[in-house]
Amino acid sequence: MSDALHIGSFSLRSRLIVGTGKYKDLQQTKDALEASGADMVTVAVRRLDLNAPGGDSLMGYLREKGYTLLPNTAGCYTADDAVRTCRLARELGMSGLVKVEVLGDPKTLFPDVVQTLQAVAILVKEGFTVLPYTTDDPITAKKLEDLGCAAVMPLAAPIGSGLGIRNPYNLEIIRNTVSVPVIVDAGVGTASDAAIAMELGCDGVLMNTAIAGAREPLRMARAMKLAVEAGREAFLAGRIERRLYATASSPLAGVIGSKLG
């Protein structure tokens, strides 16, 4: 089936976007990305270690494999740092695609929505394709869309917490409120969490720790690939209504022993 996810001018076959951090080694990173089936992967912008310069071998691999790179501003706590980081990312990546992440505090890693809105306003003006990490607040999501974001990325739970979809109601409201793609970013812990996000009508899921931190990252990457597809298909298939009582799935008539068969 052709059910591509369109973000700005980018078209993704897979609705699973994965991070490239926290893996045991380069090989595990490559294998997990491969197993996840992701087209788009996030990368961070960091200072070159001047005591041991030289390109990161992972980046060569990602480019060669044709992954779409989504640079993030992880670690930034001000709009200014995020904007500077995005400009450096564009200089590095040629593409203007960026994940804007302006953090509010190091304990929750929740976004600072005020700073995020400021950074987004500047970056959109400079022609970036902006994907902002945000809270699950529908009003903020709408502001981000109105500013010109190519998608909104509400969190499901704190980054790396694995708590899953803590507030499906807000995600559903966001999905009903904005018309750009809604990517659930952060908080997914296991496969069913990703499936639930997609069943709510979200357009994609972004994760890193849930895969990299699993006992078997490769296997979890595969599980997440399947779960995102499962959730998407279930959403499109139109689930049955919930009811408190039962409805039989075998014919009622013709049971043996009954008087009138």
Partner: protein
């Protein structure tokens, strides 16, 4: 001539270009991006851009992250 690179102090000769600086820093030709005093220095201008006394530079690249 004192400058700052990636938050650390550096001593360089006058008339040094960004391009030359990267070389002296031993930066390979892996893709790096340079910011000087909060302004990007496009790759095309590395060779023609002089570093000045007290400049603050950021030399960055992509690494794995989520």
């Amino acid at each position: 001539m004192r400058i700052e690179v990636n938050g650390e102090p550096h001593e360089i000769a006058p008339e040094t270009t960004v391009f030359a600086l990267l070389r002296t820093l031993g930066v390979g030709d892996g893709p790096v991006a340079v910011e000087r005093n909060h302004e990007i220095v496009p790759r095309a201008e590395h060779a023609s851009t002089l570093v000045h006394e007290g400049d603050r530079l950021e030399v960055v690249h992509f690494v794995g992250g989520g």
